[in-house]
């Protein structure tokens, strides 16, 4: 077990950090801790899109590059700090499409150098991805298909419901977090709580468990996904996100919001 702030301190500037979006267990708590520690030059990966935590990190100046299939606050609309950074030209955006990000992670998960994916040909996303190549089917059937290289994030971070005594974490049906964990060099997980026992011995819990084999560190962060929903633990706080979206329309409003919701948390802790 480690603390949230120690976990954040372990993430080097410039790292490729994979974050799931708002419907898939982002660790908003760790994103805030990265901001508090003054992270710089992070390259974020949306798995497969990006949401609230990514907009916070961009607004706080922690991010050099974001590779994603979309950045959005969902019902609360466009991500304001992302949009501002694109307009200002201060953020490198590497556009992808959702299944391509899943596929690149699955290639790492399987230990193969690439995987093919249909679609994409004729899209300007492909035209702007020199790392993606069009190949002829090796079966000589005339099909042209895109080969996507394996992608292995330096750090994957997400928020699970709970960890057990052995460092296994339970993410329920959000199995993209499992693929992400398998594909990444380091996996940092915040949890609501730690419980005694071994989830892998329990047939009801095992299917939603990611083995501790893949997990480098676990830190407790209660309500660590807030304002995003966490399975059946707590719901989406739409008012909180809408208030953020309004505040963050301007840099000054964003800074004020951060002072209250990010930096004040350390003072209180």
């Amino acid at each position: 077990m480690t603390t949230l702030e120690e976990m954040a301190a372990s993430v080097p500037d410039g790292a490729l950090v994979a974050l799931p979006p708002d419907n898939s267990l982002p660790s908003v708590a760790l994103a805030k801790a990265l901001i508090r520690r003054g992270s710089k030059g992070l390259r974020l990966l949306g798995v497969p899109v990006s949401g609230f935590a990514t907009d916070l990190l961009i607004g706080a100046g922690c991010v050099a590059e974001v590779q994603t299939s979309a950045v959005s606050l969902g019902e609360a609309g466009f991500a304001p700090r992302f949009s501002a950074a694109v307009k200002a030209g201060t953020l490198k955006v590497v556009d992808a499409t959702c299944p391509a990000i899943h596929t690149m992670l699955q290639a790492s998960e399987k230990g193969v150098p690439f995987m093919p994916l249909r679609g994409l040909i004729g899209s300007d996303i492909l035209a702007n991805r020199p790392d993606w190549v069009v190949m002829d089917s090796p079966f000589g059937d005339g099909e042209r298909i895109v080969a996507l290289p394996a992608l292995s994030p330096d750090v994957a971070a997400f928020h699970a419901v709970m960890a057990d005594s052995l460092g296994n974490v339970w993410v329920g049906r959000r199995r993209e977090c499992a693929t992400l964990a398998h594909a990444s060099k380091r996996v940092l997980v915040t949890v609501e709580r730690v419980v005694e026992g071994n989830f892998l011995e329990d047939e009801r819990l095992a299917p939603g468990t990611i083995s501790g084999t893949y997990i480098e560190a676990v830190a407790v962060a209660e309500r660590g996904a807030h304002p995003v929903a966490l399975l059946d633990e707590y719901g989406f706080d739409a008012d909180h996100v809408a208030a953020y979206a309004r505040a963050a329309r301007t840099e000054a409003g964003f800074n004020e919001w951060m002072a209250e919701h990010v930096f004040a948390q350390r003072a209180a802790a």
Binding site: T68, V93, C98, P99, S123, R175, A178
Partner: protein
């Protein structure tokens, strides 16, 4: 019977769904109107006796997938999704979609949220209904600034489906992938061919049978305002309140 514009759009989409065999529809867009159309089809009973399965990606409880967000794309790759809905910040006359933005790549003038899965889904779903309420030369352009997902594909590129139609707040276009062109099929009440031409940035054909988009029937409206609204209250409370004038129980 009077109806709201959203009700006309939902009924129009539902008729397009029922026009072709449809076993499984995925609805990923934030817009509640396609979701209402799907529920209407489901509540109307199957046009050919088959059961229509809906995977509503924004449903808060009972998410249909247990492999995470990957499963929608895998499911579509397998050919199990007959129909998907897509929109776009820009749509052009070849049915190319732009969800990236305008200005220099990657959208230095106006940045849209991004492409999501469109560059895959548009190829791999059995067919796609394009839906965008705003019908203006800003959205319906001659040529999109950036192509998120192309309307047609060259030989040698696997493609299972194309746009079936484009439904806007003003009209319904059909799409012919062989010719890569839209055809104006019906006009919503109050629209004229001249007005559509003025508000559309791309060239299109006009169906010889061009007429008015049929209004919802009393049965369709009763289903929409009753059982369809019941299903949508949890996910789209604001929409249900505004369009159907019903509120979720506190």
């Amino acid at each position: 019977m009077s109806h709201k514009p959203e009700e006309l759009l939902a009924v129009t989409l539902a008729r397009l769904i029922r026009a072709r065999p449809t076993r499984h529809i995925a609805v990923g867009a934030a817009s509640p109107i396609p979701a209402a159309a799907c529920w209407l089809v489901s509540k109307q009973g199957a046009p050919r006796g088959e059961h229509v399965r809906l995977s509503l990606l924004h449903k808060r409880s009972g998410n249909p997938f247990t492999e995470g967000t990957r499963e929608l794309f895998d499911l579509t790759g397998q050919g199990r999704i007959d129909l998907f809905f897509l929109g776009g910040g820009q749509i052009d006359g070849q049915a190319n979609l732009n969800l990236i933005g305008t200005g220099e790549w990657p959208g230095r003038d106006v940045r849209f949220p991004g492409s999501f899965g469109s560059a895959f889904m548009y190829f791999m779903a059995g067919r796609t209904i394009l839906f965008r309420e705003e019908h203006s030369p800003r959205v319906l352009v001659d040529r999109v600034a950036h192509i998120s997902a192309p309307g047609v594909s060259e030989p040698g590129v696997f493609r299972r489906g194309h746009a079936q139609a484009l439904v806007t707040g003003r009209c319904v276009f059909g799409f012919d992938p062989a010719r890569g062109r839209f055809t104006l099929e019906t006009l919503h009440p109050g629209e004229t061919l001249e007005n559509i031409r003025a508000e559309t940035g791309f060239d299109f054909d006009v169906a010889p049978s061009l007429g008015e988009t049929p209004a919802p029937t009393a049965e369709e409206l009763a289903l929409l305002r009753g059982p369809v609204c019941d299903e949508m209250l949890e996910t789209y409370p604001e929409f249900c309140s505004r369009v159907f004038e019903r509120k979720a129980a506190a």
